[in-house]
Symmetry: D2
């Protein structure tokens, strides 16, 4: 997997704080208002503002990622995030001869499974190639290609949508491959805008775990918090 | 493939015309306004209104489809339509033992390809089952499953989004499987709301083909229309 | 203000539970799966499922409201909810002669303010009428019309979007007019689908208040809950 | 009215062409692919690609505008464009003492109307101030404020959404104020990305007018084009 930041809105932190100040400031004009956004004001605003309270301001900065060597299992999950833009390598138009594939770690660690997995991938390559030889179009031959098949895409999300994505996909309950990717994306975002991207998984963003019975234990659930709160009174 | 209409907004045609009349009518109250929408008014409005002119009114009616026996190749395309709601059978949680699969017609018609395809599907089933036996979780074993693997989902779209979907996916350029599904969905919609769903592929909706060089010839391209128009003057 | 339910997806509760079961069930076909959704299963699912955990299933049911006698101040706020469909009476095309207007309760209770307010509305009507007489088009004459001016619209939202809307707009921090409307809409929804619409304002949905420093005290803030939780250990 | 470009994705043209090439290229890796996008390839791609054919690629570049001195009549229309992000000066929290206002040109050109209009604005300022003096909160006093009242907002749209916006709002049928603003925004976009923003109103983008009976005559309608085309055969 290769995660690259291809492009992003310049000065994302200033944009977010500026958008918030537009709503509440009586400043004479927008230039004056934006010029007055110092590093200190950014820290102050981003320190106390919760995403939930004023989500729209987080939409004025976007990040574009290049994502390579990710499985079609991952991309099928990824594109379910609808407030985002995607362009993905087409299996209808691009030939899959010599396709690369993703090996799940639990398979990689199990010698028998690994051998079977690799052999299967080789067989599928042969089948695909043979179907193409038989005159079957790429768009039909690809029906034999596995979920493991590596894909490449460009993905653009604004900060609000990224925070939602990280909330779900950096969570320990997320599937390992998309979680790995989400963590890499988060790390890159944190280098560009550390005051904005202060947390990943929902439990880090919210302070509690919203997964209920499926909670991994990293943070208390709401049920636990409320029980303790009621008990204290 | 099995396409079923599971649910839909009652009286979709009346809703659409009613929404349009809210914008332009000075009628005393909404009840009066809605009561006055006769079959004749529906015909008149839907006959001359183009979707492009007043798209929002088409959003007040939604249709929910059950889609079964469609390939993961199809569902990966389908969920790229973002103004829609999906819930799909999970390969992480639902076992794929005895998975069903979709055979592309061009493979079905080629005996050698068909034999190879079926054998491959059988091998993949065996590989999947063996990986599960070896203790590999379903969410990782599924990496060997093919695009052909049959899936099941529920999909809800409003009429505006459906018209956009039909415009692209009933087109002869669409991939055969999603085109087949789109045509079945369109037929069902036309039974419920024939005055709304008067056309499918973009060339039928627009009167010309927007596919440019890739035009199949069913309708003239814009370049052709403009050339003829200029030549006539 | 008059809030009317004009239309809604039939059987919203069954749709929501059905969508969830599609994801996790290995049932032979969709008909079998949907037929097996009993009243008991609805209670069980909706009782323990949190919106946050599986939001997509709440999108397969939509509600359409007629909203009349609401101010343009309200509608400008309302249409900021983007995952929704609106059609509103046009001030460009519909004449505002004899316009109705909304009186804020705090003005209604203050005799001097009330008199001034009513007089101003009367003056604005005269100004509007005079501008039209002078040949100024409706779309320009309306520039003198006040935020108080009553409007009428049709609004369609799915359940997920409604829950988000109620979370923010049933909150005591919401502006009084949109809060009044949100409460009326919630009450109507609860009559149709009581197992789905079990809560309104965010504090009721979440168990805590996400408004931070601006909390009204009806529910503890996250800071308070975490402080108590840490203190208990 | 003051329209300012506050921020935009760097290299919007390269991003758009890059996104398109991701879909169809078999290049070894993304870096190689993006590095190979020359000025010539941009011209070639953007010259022949129609927005309709591959809309998603236009979403990877966004533009953020500061909009000042625009009426609330305009902003109520603007925020109906839902694939966009807005933050607007609040009349609940920001005092409207000494509010500025927009004068429609047809009123400005009519001395009697202009005098009446200005007097009304002055009266409304006095009424607003008096209500605040009487202890009425800003959020209620604003109910007397007119549509003409000047507002300020920040607006972010991606290129696909901007093209849709320009298509409708640069059209001669659009209301004069939002059309004026759309034309200014388009001019600014054309300076940054001239190969992308080659056209404004729908008739310029499409080659024909989609407004049907309401066509202003700048471009032929589809009915006219098809009639000519049929006549020529």
């Amino acid at each position: 997997m290769k995660v690259t930041l291809i492009n992003h809105t310049p000065m994302p932190e200033k944009m977010i704080v500026g958008a918030a100040r537009v709503c509440y400031s009586g400043a004479k004009d927008l230039d004056t208002l934006l010029d007055s956004i110092t590093e200190e004001k950014i820290v102050e605003f981003l320190g106390k503002s919760a995403l939930a309270n004023h989500g729209s301001v987080w939409e004025h900065a976007t990040f574009t990622f290049g994502l390579e060597g990710v499985s079609r299992a991952l991309t099928h999950q990824l594109v379910r995030h609808r407030i985002a833009s995607y362009d993905q390598q087409s299996q209808r138009y691009v030939s899959a001869k010599q396709f690369e594939y993703v090996v799940p770690p639990k398979i990689a660690k199990n010698p028998e499974a690994k051998e079977l997995f690799d052999k299967t991938m080789g067989d599928l390559q042969n089948t695909y190639d043979r179907l193409v030889e038989l005159g079957i179009p790429k768009e039909d031959s690809r029906y034999v290609l596995p979920n493991a098949c590596a894909s490449r895409l460009i993905c653009t999300m604004n900060v609000r949508s990224l925070m939602h994505f990280f909330g779900l996909r950096c969570c320990t309950r997320a599937q390992w491959e998309i979680r790995d990717m989400a963590n890499q994306m988060l790390k890159i975002c944190q280098e560009i805008a550390p005051k904005v991207f202060v947390a990943g998984a929902n439990c880090e963003q919210l302070g509690y775990c919203p997964e209920g019975d499926m909670c991994c234990g990293r943070a208390p659930t709401m049920a636990k918090l409320l029980e303790t709160y009621k008990g204290s009174k």
